[in-house]
Amino acid sequence: MLDISAEHLSKYYMLAPSGGRRLPLMTRRRRTFWAIKDVSFGVRRGEALGIIGPNGSGKSTLVKLFSRITAPSEGTIILNGRLSALIELGAGFHPDLTGRENIFLNGSILGMTHREIAGKISDIVEFAEIGDFIDVPVKKYSTGMYVRLGFSIAAHLDSDIVLFDEVLAVGDVGFQARCFERVENLREAGKTVVLVSHDFAAIERICDRAVLLRSGQIEMIGEPSAVIEHYQAVASSALADGGRAGGEPSRITCKTLSFAAPTGEPVQTGGPLRCCLAYEALEPLDDIIVTVSLNWPSGYLCTQLSTSEGLELGPGAGEIEFYCSKLTMQRGLYTVDVLIERRGEVLDWRRRCSLLRVGAGKIVAGDFYIEHSCRIRQLTLER
């Protein structure tokens, strides 16, 4: 059973040269911009589908077509079930109304009846952690309270299909965790979930399948990990080609970066890792320091591989190999930065230029694995 099915879906916008319409006499040629072009796919009942892609690839347009905010230019959408879309949270809030009044207004905009809202209002308030502020006009709210209330109302809708357009990263860490919990609950309840996000970790954790959009078309659809890896690889190769921002050719450039386990097994927690960096130097250089930074999917620095002391490199191509006998990083997808510097001068710097996937080897909870062992010492023996 398909809950959402899109058949040859297209959406174009007419871009007027100076904006706005004029009398026919003054009309200049208008450009057609295809936000979505001939996209077909389905979302099964109870499935969670992630949609990723660069900015302007048509992700939000797709969500707007599904949620009926605007109609497609070509093609057909079939929805089986009540759909709700979480797009801009609290968009319908009126600043002069209190939180409570806004819950009723926003709830009815989202399609809830007065009675439904009245039945859920205590849950909504509790989830949003608004407390006594519920009877204060929302213009006095902090940004966090505002979006929490918006999320909370939308999250309490009884829909069969729920679309999230970049709204899970609202509020503080604690609230985000509860947002994800909410999504998990929806999944357990057999709801269909569509998640548009740049948070690949979330897509990988929540979704069964992922769609990669590029220029309004589907570039890839399949396993989230595979789709994300493909996307990241393309994005990083584009970066690597781009080189440094500076005009003059660099004295040393980073060519390729690869990660592998020496035995040919997948890279995994507790296993070995070899990282190989190919470079090309135009002149002999000394005191070179190379640092490979591994970042969590959230963007925070996890750890680094570093040459620590200055290397002496001759002109020409070469490779620098880092070896790590036991990887203590947890499973996941890490983004990689490379920095080559000499006495504080940056010679080459590549942000997010590659990816490191660490598979599940030694499984422990927490931030990292530490090498450990255990033994039993029997002190007394009772029959």
Binding site: M1, L2, S5, E7, H8, Y13, G20, R21, S40, G42, K64, L65, S67, R68, I69, T70, A71, P72, S73, E74, G75, T76, I77, I78, L79, N80, G81, R82, A85, I87, E88, A91, G92, H94, D96, L97, E101, F104, L105, S108, I109, L110, G111, T113, H114
Partner: protein, 291 residues
């Protein structure tokens, strides 16, 4: 499985059920009308919530508060009384002030209803781009707000009649059917103009001008008896002229309007509503693209 007249697209591996919603670039006008009316009935709660919000916040930060609801018809009445009472002498038994006020109350409803509905659509842009709801709720709720203003002005009209010691007859109850027809006409025009306004912003510029001219096409500031005989056939085709005349006749003079006149107006109102609503639904599908 493909019994449904809306054919199943190729490659669709599920069955269309009664709950399925099919979205295409363009739906037939009759589908739009039927779907629209259904969703409009389902959106009564939303209409209520939006109207209440408008009413609540409207005068919240103004010093005069609800006085504003009275200010438009009263100020115009004062103005017209000043200007015209010298020109129009001896108009039957009614004091001119009362005569003008009784005509201006329904007219003020029409003009503020249409003006606020046309201006209001764009102010809902952030909401409309974030969530779908039947967009007609916006202009309709704004027209209802002006109807509430009308109610306030109507009470003032009755008080004025007491002041001028004119008795209120049972015929005044006919104001309800008259206003219902007028409401339908205003909703129809608001739907049409508010949706076109999003694409062609000239509407909101032209509207005040047009309304200022239109006020003279109905017997508001002058009595119907002063319309030249040769023009009367055309003059009375205008449902607004009939409704304003009948409203004043019923409320102030206690005259029962001709059933045929009201029937004619009702038919025109229904036809207008259906046509305007279909146009609105057609524009509504992609209205946010132009906002």
């Amino acid at each position: 499985m493909t019994q449904d007249p809306r054919a199943v697209p190729e490659g669709f591996h599920g069955a269309l059920t009664r709950r399925s919603r099919v979205i295409r670039p363009v739906h037939s006008l009759s589908d739009d009308l039927v779907d629209g009316m259904q969703s409009l009935v389902q959106s009564m709660g939303l209409l209520r919530a939006m109207t209440i919000t408008r009413v609540k916040i409207r005068y919240r930060h103004s010093l005069l508060g609800w006085g504003w609801a009275l200010l438009q018809p009263t100020s115009l009445t004062v103005l017209y009384s000043f200007v015209f009472s010298y020109l129009m002498n001896g108009n039957g038994s009614l004091p001119y002030t009362l005569f003008v006020f009784a005509g201006l109350t329904p007219w003020a409803f029409c003009s503020t209803g249409i003006t606020t509905a046309v201006a209001g659509m764009l102010s809902y842009r952030p909401l409309m781009t974030a969530v779908y709801f039947p967009r007609e709720v916006i202009p309709i709720s704004l027209v209802i707000v002006s109807l509430i203003d009308f109610g306030v002005a109507f009470v003032l009209l009755l008080l004025m009649m007491l002041y001028f010691s004119i008795s209120i007859s049972a015929a005044a109850l006919l104001a309800f059917p008259i206003m219902t027809i007028l409401f339908a006409m205003v909703v129809a025009l608001s739907l049409l103009l508010s949706s076109i306004q999003v694409r062609v912003r000239d509407i909101s510029m032209a509207l005040p001008l047009v309304l200022q001219v239109l006020v003279f096409t109905a017997p508001i500031v002058y009595p119907a008896s002063s319309v030249p005989l040769s023009l009367r056939d055309v003059y009375w085709l205008n449902p607004f002229a009939i409704l304003v005349q009948d409203f004043r006749g019923a409320v102030v003079d206690g005259d029962v309007p001709l059933a045929g006149d009201l029937f004619y107006c009702a038919v025109v109102a229904v036809i207008c509503f259906v046509i305007c609503y279909m146009i609105f639904k057609r524009i509504e599908r992609t209205i946010v693209d132009d906002m």
